[in-house]
């Protein structure tokens, strides 16, 4: 028995892509011996770290459970001690000595070739270890089925646990190994020297460390530090021919079963008929069938290691291993992996929505996929909805007349069956004719319907909202908010000109809402075909909807508006005043509201009831001042009938940082 080498532990084992699976399996075995992969069979070419891994398992298992006994021995030691025991007549005593070993580590089992007696002994020992729930770990330079003349029962025993390989380390792992060696040996080399050594075609870790040792020796007798060119030159002189010529470490010979090598002398066919040819054929085919039929266990075990390594629950696969041959192991594996893929998608979306949710255990358990879907749904629903319609605009206050009949009819149709008739509805008209009033009025009416989530906002607010999301890296969250809505009402889409990123998002949102049959209403100062700086794909979609114009208010509308304002502000007013004001030549509702307000203000100042005479004096005595523009070309809905600012929420009080706008412009 060999003592465990104290230097060969997991923390000195450099893990790379070539050995990650094997190390994960080894750790799992060390942490719960006998419970996960039993036996664990590790195979790899010479010098790739099998012995290191076996000893690391022993150390770690003892560290986890100090009561445990771990025993490491090479196959030669196993054979010698067995022979010695048999010679001394102590065979039974020899067998008993393993009865208190919790974890047995057997190295180099490829030497079992043609040793029938030792194979039988190892088979017996393996069975004893397995039935008493104790761990056995074996290593070899080739997989069990390639060990010549190995008992089929042993092959099956090994296949029943986990057979896993370590391949040659990749470049990055070689650099990491050299760096660790340099650190341990306190040797200082220029990084380029280590990289040059790692880039040599050395396939085994042992050779790599040998090369490194030569460099240390060479460096010790020099005064100046070694350069990468010198290092290559030193190694080229001393390395084996295979490395000097740049040939890779020879791969294991391919499995040859009964074939004739082209160069080999061809044995003359001998008259056959002697021996049990069919029996021998049957025996070999039985082995082959057994290997293939049982190979699903290996595939499942590998999948367990892989997904455990990625922190997923693998109970479903473990249950598979515990049973007999399942109906379709590959389908079971496929289903499991599909569930993992779905979990990954769910977790990714949940992470975007709410970082706190992403860490939930359900996102790592394919058996709880439904729960994971529920958690994702909750995260989606936890989002605050986008801005809704302003309550100050009521649809019943919007005055219908013969001139705006088309708009009001369309609005009525939409309210009766949102998304079914006019989708999208595009309301166009000059500034101040009541587009915003109508839009928000419809928004309020839609929002009263059960289950409706209405987003109703101006284009500039829409842009600002997206910029904030981009700035905080929460675009997915922003999208998720809008994807919840069942109606989108967007005011002043002509202001989206040149906002490419916003247009792109709106385009996708549009498609999503259209596909789901959700209502969209847009307002614009110009017809869709005249929208400047708006992508054709978006423009044509707007054109394809119902485009209706909200005309300038006619006499009928003006009278109704004046009458309502006077009623609200001054109680009952004389009909002559209403008729006079309605007859004034104004183009927009907003200008009309301004006129009425001026007359009301004048009446207040002069302390008299507003009358037609007063109105004439005010309006004809001095020309009306032009309406004050407050925010560039964004005017709709900003002014109240009194001429003052109508609503604080319509104004941008917190201007976004200029840098945010630059992001949008650049995009």
């Amino acid at each position: 028995m060999t003592r465990l080498n104290p230097r060969l532990r997991f923390d000195s084992y450099v893990v790379g892509s070539a050995n990650r699976l094997a190390v994960t399996a080894a750790r799992a075995v060390a942490e719960s011996p006998g419970a996960v992969y039993n036996p664990l069979f590790v195979y790899a070419g010479s010098g790739l770290g099998k012995t290191h891994l076996l000893m690391a398992i022993g150390h770690h298992a003892i560290a986890v459970n100090p009561q445990l006994t771990a025993e490491y021995l090479t196959l030669d030691e196993f054979v010698e001690s067995f022979h010695a025991a048999i010679a001394a007549g102590q065979g039974e005593a020899y067998r008993r000595r393993y009865s208190d070993v919790g974890i047995l580590l057997v190295d180099d089992v490829q030497f079992l070739t043609h040793r029938r007696e030792m194979q039988a002994e190892l088979f017996r020992l393996t069975n004893t270890m397995l039935t008493s729930g104790r761990q056995i770990v074996l290593s070899s330079d080739r997989p069990p089925n390639e060990i010549e003349a190995l008992d089929e029962r042993l092959i099956q025993r090994f296949a029943g646990g986990l057979v896993i390989d370590i391949s040659a380390p990749d470049y990055e792992t070689r650099v990491a190994i050299l760096r660790r060696q340099a650190e341990e040996r306190k040797a200082e080399f220029d990084p380029s020297v280590l990289e040059a050594v790692a880039s040599l075609p050395i396939g085994s870790v042992r050779e790599l460390i040998g090369a490194f040792n030569r460099l240390i020796a060479y460096q010790a007798v020099r005064e100046s530090p070694l350069t990468s060119v010198e290092a290559r030159a030193v190694l080229a002189k001393t390395m084996p021919v295979t490395v000097r010529t740049g040939a890779e470490t020879p791969a294991p010979a391919p499995e040859v079963i009964g074939s004739i090598e082209p160069e080999a002398p061809v044995p003359a066919p001998v008259p056959s008929g002697s021996g049990d040819e069919f029996g021998s054929f049957l025996s070999e085919i039985s082995s082959a069938v057994a290997r293939q039929v049982e190979s699903w266990r290996g595939r499942v075990a590998e999948a367990i290691v892989r997904w455990q390594g990625e922190d997923y629950r693998t109970e479903r696969l473990q249950r598979l291993l515990e049973g007999e041959s399942p109906v379709d192991p590959d389908a079971a594996l496929r289903d499991y992996e599909e569930d993992i893929e779905r979990l990954k998608q769910i977790a990714a979306e949940a992470r975007e929505l709410d970082v706190a949710v992403a860490g939930l255990a359900v996102f790592h358990d394919p058996d709880r996929l439904a729960e994971a879907e529920t958690e994702l749904q909750k995260a989606r629903e936890g989002l605050s909805p986008p801005p809704g319609p302003s309550p100050i605009w009521r649809l019943d206050e919007f005055v219908a007349s013969s001139t705006n009949k088309m708009v009001t009819t369309a609005a009525q149709g939409i309210l009766e069956a949102p998304g079914a008739h006019f989708n999208p509805l595009v309301i166009i008209g000059p500034v101040g004719v009541g587009k915003t009033h109508l839009l928000h009025g419809m928004g309020n009416a839609l929002a009263e319907r059960p289950g409706m989530v209405v987003a109703c906002l101006g284009a500039e607010d829409f842009v600002d909202d997206l910029i904030k999301a981009i700035d905080r890296d929460r675009v997915a969250w922003w999208r998720a908010r809008y994807r919840r809505i069942t109606a989108l009402l967007l005011d002043d889409v002509h202001l989206l000109g040149g906002k490419d990123r916003t247009q792109e998002e709106l385009f996708w949102l549009y498609n999503l809402l259209a596909e789901a049959g959700n209502q969209m209403i847009f307002t614009s100062a110009v017809p869709p075909q005249e929208l400047e700086g708006v992508e054709p794909r978006l423009r044509t979609r707007l054109e394809a909807g119902l485009v209706v114009e909200l005309p300038q208010p006619d006499r009928e509308v003006r009278e109704a508006i004046v009458a309502r304002i006077l009623r609200e502000k001054a109680g009952e007013a004389e009909p002559e005043l209403a008729a006079y004001l309605a007859a004034r030549p104004v183009e927009t509702v907003r200008a009309l509201q301004g006129l009425v307000q001026r007359v009301l203000d004048a009446g207040e100042v002069e302390d008299q009831r507003p009358s037609a005479g007063l109105a004439r004096q005010v309006l004809e005595g001095s020309p009306a001042a032009p309406a004050r523009r407050t925010t560039g070309n964004r005017t709709s809905g900003l002014l109240s009938p009194t001429g003052s600012l109508r609503s604080r929420e319509k104004l941008v009080w917190d201007w976004p940082d200029i840098a945010d706008r630059l992001i949008e412009e650049v995009r």
């Binding site: 008259p271 085919i285 293939q292």
Partner: protein, 201 residues
């Protein structure tokens, strides 16, 4: 066809012996038939002409018993070698899991071998089979004939085996190489299971 069926716990392998006329395909099957215990084999069906040439095909079912819980059956077929029976060859080739190409080692039959091998590849391609990954072995039969009449296995490899399949020298009449060939193709067919999963269809 179904290769390994986990539901019915059956493994069925269909192996077709292909090659030019008179190369020894039927002799292979007859030798196997003679070595298999009666309980393990079904009736060998052989449709031959009066001159003992295969007219349609030979069929030899082998029951290998229950292996690892799976009832394992091999079905061995030969095809008629004559050029004009291509429709029959296509039919027999359908659903094959592996093919043994039995070549006649006589130097004068080299052209026939090449023609038959090309015909095999064309028929496999016609069935949508990727010849590069399909289980196939070569048997160089009649290696017992005088050395000046035959080509050696390396020569035959050079001439026929450009894809590097496994090849076996053989003397089907006396049985040399017959079971080696069958083992070779069976191993390949079974090994393919591991690469393609269960293969149940």
């Amino acid at each position: 066809m179904s290769l390994v069926n986990f539901t019915t716990r059956e493994i069925t392998c269909k192996i077709v012996y292909y090659g030019p006329g008179r190369s020894g395909k039927t002799s292979n099957l007859q030798y196997i038939y003679g070595r298999v215990p009666e309980s393990r084999r079904g009736r060998m069906v052989s449709l031959a002409t009066q001159t003992d040439r295969t007219l349609f095909f030979d069929f030899l079912p082998l029951d290998l018993g229950v292996i690892s819980g799976f009832t394992t059956r091999f079905q061995l077929y030969t095809v008629p070698g004559q050029v004009y029976y291509n429709a029959t060859r296509k039919l027999v080739l359908q659903g094959a899991d592996g093919v043994v190409f039995v070549a006649d080692s006589q130097a004068r039959r080299l052209e026939d071998n090449i023609e038959s091998l090309q015909n095999l590849q064309a028929n496999l391609l016609g069935q949508g089979v990727d010849v590069r990954s399909f289980p196939l072995v070569l048997q160089y039969n009649k290696q017992d004939l005088p050395a000046d009449l035959i080509l050696t296995p390396p020569d035959l490899d050079d001439a026929l085996n450009f894809r590097g399949y496994r090849s076996f020298p053989g003397d089907a009449l006396r049985g040399a190489g017959v079971f080696e060939t069958l083992k070779g193709i069976s191993e390949m067919v079974l090994k393919r299971l591991a690469a393609t999963g269960s293969g149940a269809a």
